[in-house]
Amino acid sequence: MGSVGAKEVPVLLSPEGLRIDGRKLDELRPLSIRAGALHQADGSAAVEWGANKVLAAVYGPREVHPRHLQQNHKAVIQCRYNMAAFSVDERKRPGLDRRSQEISKVIGEAFESVVFVEEYPRTSIDIYIEVLQANAGTRCAGVVAASVALADAGIPMADLLPAVAVGKVGGAIALDLKKEEDNFGEADLPMALVPQSGRLVLLQMEGHLTEPELAQALDLGVKGCREIYEQMKRALRERYAVGPTAGASS
């Protein structure tokens, strides 16, 4: 990864085992989740995670467009992950490139693994993920946001989907890589967990990991996902809290 680049590799891990932003190997970046951040969507969420800013909106169940995608026995889930032109250092050409199309596919499949699609035949549940500011881990931030947005839309599903990327930096397995770690790290492994079943519905990997390192990375990712899960539930409780302390959002 990035070995072809001529740039000098920064020191990613201090002798004390701390990362470039002072985090420990198993420490997440600061994460804030706001459910119901948008007004027109049936469900929505805004996620700020480290220097990532990601929005998700859910529309549906509603009529399927294009019509031929309609399924008689279940709802179809259509997911669109998109990055804003200004979300990265060098302007990105607007629209879905091949990376975004692949990510849209795997995220859609992850959600179809947990949403009770049989309940809404001949409809579409549309998930829109918009990355406004990117700093590594945007697909995981997108899954977290979309998951909260689905719950906010009242779509029945088996569970929320916390997601996080694990990687290898400075020879060590580390949780939740930020941009510099992703660019110069030795591996990147994003995943999404179904906490109730302990199973993974999204899993990708690129880089170099031995078998024991891979096992360690999976375990660390699952642990990270469980932490994120608690924050997702908290965001939803805040949105729907009643009484004097109820959240004022939207």
């Binding site: 001529a6 990376r99 499949e109 693994s113 993974l200 690129e206 031995t210």
Partner: protein, 262 residues
């Protein structure tokens, strides 16, 4: 509609068999279909191979042309990977721009080739910042009977292994020379059928699958790429188990790709 009913019946049958530890074609859960590799299948390409895994067939062709290096990698050549799922190969493929399925195959194969550092791209640089080779890896799926990812990477790798850089034709050097292969990534794809996780799925098995998992390994004991696809889930223990199995199959398939002979 009859197509839907047919698919439903086949799915039920595939899953019933899997529950008894059996498969439609009589294979064991950890057995590949018959693999044949035909290097040099297309003589107009700078490297090529026809690879069959069972009834699935993919032709990969390599073309090398002089071009310009990317601004952020002035000392390296350019590698471009593309998979075409042409309508000739399956009733499920339609003409038009690449669908998400084709993009996924391209990108998952590309990820393995790139992450494994299969070719030393710096050796494809002619003049830093100005001139370098562009290596096109094009994969044509000509018969889709399942497991396009493993078949496509095996075809690409076999084609790369036998590729010749046409340096003389483009007047860059006095003689042509073989492309330098540093590492040999192999992808192994598994699908979940109920509680069973089987390798090298057929078209019917993929359609019945409750999740697909691809693991790419290199010859030095690294996992270099992974991709979970389709609707379904795998536990971390399932993943660790498939990684072990992928290493075992990887060694076998790698020897085939390097040698080319059965």
């Amino acid at each position: 509609m009859s197509e839907e009913i047919d698919a439903e019946i086949r799915t039920t049958h595939v899953l019933d068999l899997a529950a008894e530890g059996k498969r439609l074609d009589g294979r064991g859960p950890d057995e590949y279909r018959k693999i044949t590799i035909e290097p040099g299948f297309v003589t107009t390409a700078d490297g090529s191979a026809l690879v069959r895994i069972g009834d699935t067939a993919v032709v990969a062709g390599i073309k090398l042309e002089p071009g310009k290096p990317f601004a952020d990698t002035p000392n390296a050549g350019v590698l471009t990977t593309n998979a075409e799922l042409i309508p000739l190969s399956s009733p499920t493929f339609e003409p038009g721009p690449p669908q998400p399925g084709a993009i996924e195959v391209s990108r998952v194969v590309d990820r393995a080739i790139r992450a494994a550092e299969t070719i030393d791209l710096t050796r494809l640089c002619v003049t830093p910042g100005e001139k370098s080779w562009v290596c096109y890896v094009d994969m044509h799926v000509i018969d889709h009977s399942g497991n396009l990812i493993d078949t496509s990477l095996l075809a690409a790798l076999s084609a790369l292994t036998h590729a010749i850089v046409p340096a003389k034709r483009f007047e860059i050097a006095d003689a042509d020379y073989p492309l330098d292969i540093q590492h040999y990534p192999i992808e192994c794809t598994f699908v979940r059928l109920g509680d069973a996780i089987v390798v090298d799925p057929t078209f019917d098995e993929e359609r019945s699958a409750q999740g697909r998992l691809t693991v790419a390994t290199d010859e030095a004991g690294h996992v270099v790429a992974m991709q979970k696809g389709l609707i379904g889930a795998f536990s971390p223990d399932d993943v660790k188990d498939t990684v072990r199995r992928a290493f075992r199959h990887g060694d076998e398939l790698r020897a085939r790709a390097r040698g080319g002979a059965p």
